[in-house]
Amino acid sequence: MARVVVDVMLKPEILDPQGQAVQRALPRLGFDGIADVRQGKRFELEIEGPADEAALAEIRKMAETFLANTVIEDFTVRVEDQQ
């Protein structure tokens, strides 16, 4: 068993009004000094076998075709918990 994390973020050039709304709310709540907020998605995948190159290649393919829309989003894949 291993846990693989896929983070999906809007591309830097894409406007993220949800992140902006969070950022604007922070000073009101007493949290200062945050210049920018970008909001994204995190997927935690528990895989049955080891997180070897083959498994990671499959997950990258999954991220590219389904978890992320690469027209507007970038993704990263990393192994979090290799047992």
Binding site: L15, P17, F66, L67, N69, V71, I72
Partner: protein, 226 residues
Amino acid sequence: MTTRIGVVTFPGSLDDRDALRAVKLAGAEPVSLWHRDKDLHQVDAVVLPGGFSYGDYLRAGAISRFSPVMETVIGQAKAGMPVLGICNGFQVLTESHLLPGAMLRNNHLHFICKDQKLRVENADTAWTADYESGQEIYIPLKNIDGRYTADERTLDELEAEGRVAFRYVDGNPNGSLRDIAGITNAAGNVVGLMPHPEHAVEPLIGTGRTDGLGFFTSILKRLVSA
């Protein structure tokens, strides 16, 4: 032989009934299609209706795009079958890569529900032939993920090839790039837009006008003369 126009129902579709009714009012035979059924039941064209298919989980249209019915629709659309995507249906078409770009949360983060003025920019598609290029129409708009986005190169290409089918007029309601409300593929058989023509087909409801009926009469004429 009557002209059969299919309307797909996904779990979470809202406007499939209105789309079926619009097809009927235009004079074609409406056919209900089911998301789990690959068979298109000999329809001549398909409408992907508005709503929140699969709860908009992941991204609007992202899961519907992989439904069994879409496998057939994507193949047939590439072979020339006319497909109209309305609102959520437009999102399904971009997720399917039948149309370029993507839809994002409205720039002001609010759900919109209003009568929207549009300009028909391309009256040569399978779904817009009954309009005139430059004609202004009022069509209801209701969505939260309506901000059309594509990279600059794609946008320039769409403009150069006349593939911006509809543009918002008198104010951009959601931050869509270049005021784009709807686009077409290069062949003109696949059209997607955020506003809802199926809600503007009878004077008693919707905008009080029938500006949306032209989508359905356009396709009927196209199919009958084909």
